[in-house]
Amino acid sequence: MKLLGKRAPVAPLEYTRRWSMRIWVGLVLLFLYTPLITLVAFSFNDSRRNIVWRGFTTKYYEKALHNSSLMEALTNSITIAALATVVSVVLGALAAVLLWRFRFPTKAAWEGAMALPIVVPEICMGVAMLAFFARLDLPQDLPWPFDLSQITIAHITFCFPFVAMVVRSRLTSFNREEEEAAKDLGASEWQAFRDVLLPHMKPGLIAGALLAFTLSLDDFVITFFTSGPNTVTFPVKVYSMVRFSVTPEVNAASALVIALTVLLTTIALKLQSRMGTLAQGH
C-alpha cells in the first residue's frame, strides 16, 4: 500500500477493502446464484436439451403458459399458499400473543408443542398427515377449490408455528406501558389490542406471512403425501415432468415462479418500509 502512496490504511473493520474478504464473498455469491442463473438462462435456450446453448428464444415460456396441466398445478399452489398464509398468520399471531402475554401451568409444554412441527422431519409429517387423512376419510371428489382442503390443512399445520415464532420475537420488544397507556386513556381491552399491540406486531405479521407463503408454495414432501389424484401442485408437477427429462419448459415455469416470489417479497418489503416511514412501526 505504501508504494501507491495515496491510499488510506485499511482500518480494522473495513472488511470490504481486503482482497481475501472480497474473494470470499465473491465465491459465496457464485455458489449461491450459479444454479439459479443457469436455470433462468437455459429457460431461453433454443434446444430440447439443457446442455448446450443453441440460441435465444421465448417459445418455452409460451409453451409453459399453454401447458394446461402445469398452469392448473400453479393455480392450485398459489391458491393453497394464499389460504394457508391467511389462516397461519391469524393462528400464529394468536398463539404468539397467548404465549407472550399469559402465564399458565403447562406453558412450557405448549411452547414445545408449538415448535414441534418445525423440528419434526417433513417426511414424518407427511406420513402422519397421510395416515390422518386416510383415517378421516374425507370425500375425494369435491369441486375446486374444496378438493385442496387436505393439502391446505397440512400446510397450515407446518406454517403457523413459523409465524408464531416470528411474531413472538417481535412481541418481546413491545413496551407494555404503551398498552397500559391506551387503557389509561379509556381504551377497552380490544381497542388497546387493535390500536397499540397490533400496529407493533405488523412487521412480524408481514414477515411471518412471507415465510408462510414461500414455505407453502414450494413444499414438496408433505404435499406429495396429502395430495389426491386430481390435486397436483406446482412442485409435484415439476417433479413429474423432470422424471422424463429436464426440458427448458420446466426451466421457464420455474423462472416464472422465481419472478413471482421475488415480486411478492419486494411488494411486502415495500409495504413494510412504507408503513415504517408512515407510521414508525420500528
Binding site: 404503551e178 386513556l185 407493533h200 412501526g281
Partner: protein, 377 residues
C-alpha cells in the same frame, strides 16, 4: 385545606405480590387534597410505584380501599377511572403522530373530530409543542416525547394526574427546567398531581407535600422544608439530603433546652425540648451545611459555640481527610479526634474560599443550638 374533602383517599391499603416475602405496600393511609402537588418519594422497591399503579387501577389492592372523589374504585377498571397517568417510559404510541397520540383518548371517548382538533391544539400549546402535531414520536427529543405524554393525559381533563418518575430519563439541565415547568403547569391547570420519584431534589423543588416511603410504609408526610429541617426519623433524615448521624444519650430535656451526650461527636446542646425519656438512646442528625469550619485558631470556634450554648457544647475538633470541590460548595470529610468521620460543606462565597483548608489540616467546628435534630427512632 382541611375543610375540603380529599380528592383521593387511600385507606389501609396493603398490596402483597404472589411469592414476595413482604408486602409491597403495607397498610398505607393517605389523603390527597384537590389541587395539591403531591409527591411519593422513596428508594427503589419502597412501594411508591405500586401505590401509584393501584390508584391508576393497574394493580388491585390485597386489602384496603381507594376512593377517588369519594367514589370507591374497587370495581372500576383503569379505563373508567377519572385519573390519567404519565408513564416512566412516556409510552408514546410510536406509530401515531403527535396529534394522534394526544387525541387518542378523546377519539376513544367518541368526541367529535372538530372538538378533538381544538382540544389537541389547546393541549399542545399548554405543553409548548404547538406546530409539532404532524411529527412522529421518533422525530422528537426525550423532553418533547414527555410533553406529548403530558398533553395526552391533560387533554382528558382528569381529576388527578399521576406521574411515574417523570424526569428520570431527562438530562440534568432539562430536568431542572422541567421541574419548574411541571410546577407551573400544575398551577395553570389546577389539576391534582401525584408524582412518584426517587430523586429528593425533584421532590423538594416541586412538591406541596411529600410522603416519604420506606419498605411499603409511609415514613413521614410533610411539606418539603419540614421534611428537610424536621425529619421524623433516621431514614427520612438520611434519605432526604445529606446528613451526619451520631448516637447518644439524652442527658437533659426541658421545654426550652436539651442536651445529648454523643460519644462520637461530643456534647450537643439544643435550644428546644425533644420530649424523650431521660437517659434514653437517641440519635443526633446534623446537616453538613449547618456546621461552621474554623481555621486552626481553635479559640474562635469555642467562642462562637459558647454564644448560644454552655461551654464545651456544640463544638468539635478534627483533621481534614478528604475534600471535593464542587464549584458552588466544597465538601470536606473530617476525622474527629474521637475517630468518627463527619461531613461538612462550605459555600465558596469568594473565589479563593476553597484555598482556606486542605488535606490534613487541623480544623475546629461549631454549630448553632437550633441546628441539630434529635431523632428517637
Amino acid at each position: 385545606m382541611s375543610d375540603k374533602t380529599p380528592i383521593i383517599s387511600i385507606r389501609n391499603v396493603t398490596k402483597r405480590f404472589k411469592g414476595a416475602p413482604s408486602a409491597a405496600v403495607d397498610d398505607v393511609s393517605l389523603d390527597i387534597m384537590p389541587g395539591e402537588f403531591f409527591v411519593l418519594l422513596g428508594p427503589s422497591g419502597c412501594g411508591k410505584t405500586t401505590l401509584l399503579r393501584m390508584i391508576a387501577g393497574f394493580e388491585i389492592p390485597t386489602s384496603g380501599q381507594i376512593l377517588i372523589d369519594g367514589q370507591d374504585m374497587a370495581e372500576v377498571p383503569p379505563n373508567k377511572r377519572p385519573v390519567n397517568m404519565v408513564f416512566q417510559s412516556y409510552a408514546v404510541f410510536p406509530h401515531m403522530t403527535v396529534a394522534q397520540n394526544v387525541g387518542y383518548g378523546l377519539k376513544i371517548a367518541g368526541v367529535s373530530a372538530d372538538e378533538i382538533r381544538s382540544r389537541v391544539a389547546e393541549a399542545l400549546e399548554l405543553v409548548k409543542l404547538d406546530g409539532l402535531d404532524a411529527r412522529m414520536p421518533d422525530q422528537l427529543s426525550g423532553g418533547q416525547r414527555q410533553r406529548v405524554a403530558l398533553a395526552r393525559s391533560l387533554v382528558m381533563r382528569p381529576k388527578v394526574l399521576l406521574l411515574d418518575e417523570p424526569l428520570s430519563a431527562l438530562d440534568a439541565k432539562l430536568r431542572a427546567q422541567m421541574q419548574f415547568e411541571l410546577a407551573d403547569l400544575q398551577d395553570k391547570v389546577g389539576i391534582t398531581f401525584i408524582t412518584v420519584t426517587h430523586d429528593q431534589d425533584e421532590a423538594l423543588s416541586m412538591a406541596g407535600r411529600i410522603a416519604v416511603m420506606n419498605k411499603g410504609d409511609v415514613a413521614q408526610l410533610a411539606a418539603p422544608a419540614d421534611l428537610y429541617e424536621y425529619p421524623a426519623n433516621r431514614f427520612v433524615a438520611d434519605f432526604v439530603g445529606s446528613v451526619n448521624i451520631f448516637e447518644g444519650k439524652l442527658t437533659l430535656d426541658e421545654p426550652d433546652k436539651a442536651a445529648v451526650d454523643c460519644p462520637g461527636l461530643g456534647k450537643v446542646w439544643l435550644n428546644h425540648g425533644v420530649t424523650g425519656a431521660h437517659g434514653s438512646n437517641v440519635w443526633v442528625a446534623l446537616r453538613p451545611e449547618k456546621i461552621y469550619l474554623h481555621v486552626p485558631g481553635e479559640g474562635k470556634a469555642v467562642r462562637a459555640a459558647a454564644e448560644d450554648a454552655p461551654e464545651g457544647h456544640n463544638f468539635a475538633r478534627g483533621q481534614i481527610k478528604g475534600m471535593s470541590y464542587l464549584g458552588d460548595i466544597t465538601l470536606y470529610e473530617i476525622q474527629l479526634d474521637c475517630g468518627a468521620m463527619i461531613r461538612v460543606s462550605r459555600p465558596n462565597l469568594s473565589r479563593h474560599d476553597q484555598e482556606d483548608f486542605t488535606w490534613d489540616d487541623r480544623v475546629s467546628m461549631h454549630w448553632r443550638a437550633d441546628s441539630p435534630v434529635v431523632l428517637l427512632s
